[in-house]
């Protein structure tokens, strides 16, 4: 399993970074106002938004090569949560497009969304 690449500093993400966890609950509401709720997923799906700025050309190239290797959201890789350090062995990109913004020398930026796979 491929590993999501780290920056030269060893970091995975930069500020600002965000993450979310998504549950899925089915809610049945009855005429008398009562409800029945049940989960549709065994566990929450995790998702990370990785915003990267001020990358140098080598870091940008590594990210681009990794995205090509994954072929967008088709591939699966391991991702270490930069908030907790927990390694999630089965994740994918959420988008099929990677846009690298070359703003200057050592000023390349990109935004990636990584999501945990289920099954």
């Amino acid at each position: 399993m491929d590993e999501f690449p780290t920056l030269k500093t060893g970091a995975i993400a930069q500020h600002p970074a965000s993450r979310s966890q998504q549950h899925r609950t089915c809610v049945l509401r009855f005429v008398d106002g009562s409800e029945q709720r049940f989960r549709e997923r065994g566990a929450a799906l995790r998702r990370w938004v990785i915003r990267l700025d001020l990358l140098d050309e080598e870091e940008a190239a590594r990210l681009e090569d990794f995205f090509h290797a994954q072929q967008g959201r088709l591939g699966r890789f391991a991702f270490t949560d930069p908030w907790t350090g927990v390694r999630y062995p089965d994740c994918s990109f959420e988008d099929d497009t990677l846009a690298l913004r070359y703003l200057g020398i050592m000023r390349t930026g990109a935004t990636l969304v990584v999501r945990e796979n289920r099954g």
């Binding site: 899925r24 549709e40 997923r41 065994g42 799906l45 140098d56 050309e57 080598e58 940008a60 190239a61 681009e64 995205f67 090509h68 072929q71 967008g72 959201r73 088709l74 099929d96 497009t97 990677l98 846009a99 690298l100 913004r101 070359y102 703003l103 200057g104 020398i105 000023r107 796979n117 289920r118 099954g119």
Partner: protein, 264 residues
């Protein structure tokens, strides 16, 4: 064969530029969060968004003429990606894309300045100069930067050369014990569409090399290792039928060009 033109400065693009890698995955998500997915290899493409500011009249006319020659999105051309190394298999001198003189001994797996073992040692054992070179399909009249890291246990001299047709530009460098990036850049006049990039060693010379890189620009950028392909994209096209150029002052023009290449 048509090539996206360089500016008067010898560069292809200016900052900022955006490069997009686009794939298509057919995604069937189930309620429990699991999914089935299938890649659509035919939908792969690369896109470049090039923003130009401060173009001279000559430069904007060059871009406009090329867009006209391509008739907007109709015609195909070759685009030399400014974010990539133009050479193929840049870290594999034993690969067949590299043409090696018969009396040049090659040893790979040598420690490199980046902390890996991708450097290689060349020993010239013949009575005459020996060379290692690669040819690319690119205009002989472009400006190029050809660079490689080099070191040698004993004082040695290495020649970097660029050749197109009968025109050759070469520069000899002294190489010492520490890694140093050798850079040879310049613009050619040849009208051929093949360019050779190579290193020549005098008889009896032994050097270690790493990070061979060719770029269509006057100065080197950080080394980017390539595998099966370099940054030369044939079959690229404009992504718009219209090219709008704004005159923002005397001899100052700006425009945005979008280029797309289907497949990789």
């Amino acid at each position: 064969m048509k090539f996206f033109p360089q500016l008067v400065t010898g560069t292809l693009v200016q900052y900022p530029l955006v490069k997009r890698a686009v794939y298509r995955t057919i995604w069937n998500a189930a309620l429990d969060g699991s999914d089935d997915r299938l890649g659509d290899a035919g939908a792969e493409r690369l896109e470049w968004e090039l923003r130009y500011e401060g173009l001279s009249r000559e430069e904007q006319e060059r871009l406009a003429a090329f867009h006209g020659e391509m008739e907007g999105r109709l015609g195909a051309f070759t685009f030399l990606d400014p974010t990539e190394n133009l050479l193929e298999r840049s870290g594999e001198p034993e690969a067949s894309v590299w043409q090696k003189s018969p009396l040049l001994t090659l040893a790979t797996g040598i420690p490199d300045p980046a902390g890996g073992t991708e450097a290689f040692r060349l020993i010239s054992t013949g009575p005459v100069e020996q060379s290692l070179q690669q040819v690319i399909t690119a205009p002989g009249w472009f400006a190029y930067c050809w660079s490689v890291y080099a070191r040698s246990e004993t004082a040695a001299r290495v020649t970097l050369y660029r050749r197109s047709g009968t025109e050759e530009h070469a520069r000899e460098f002294a190489v010492g014990r520490s890694w140093e990036r050798l850079v040879h850049s310049g613009k050619g006049e040849s009208q051929e569409v093949t360019v050779w990039f190579g290193v020549k060693l005098r008889p009896g010379t032994a050097v270690e090399l790493y990070g061979m890189q060719a770029e269509a620009q006057p100065a080197p950028s950080p080394y980017r290792r390539t595998k099966l392909r370099g940054g030369i994209y044939e079959g690229a096209r404009f992504d718009e039928d219209e090219l709008m150029v704004a005159a923002v002052g005397p001899d100052l023009h700006s425009c945005t060009v979008r280029i797309v290449k289907a497949g990789r």
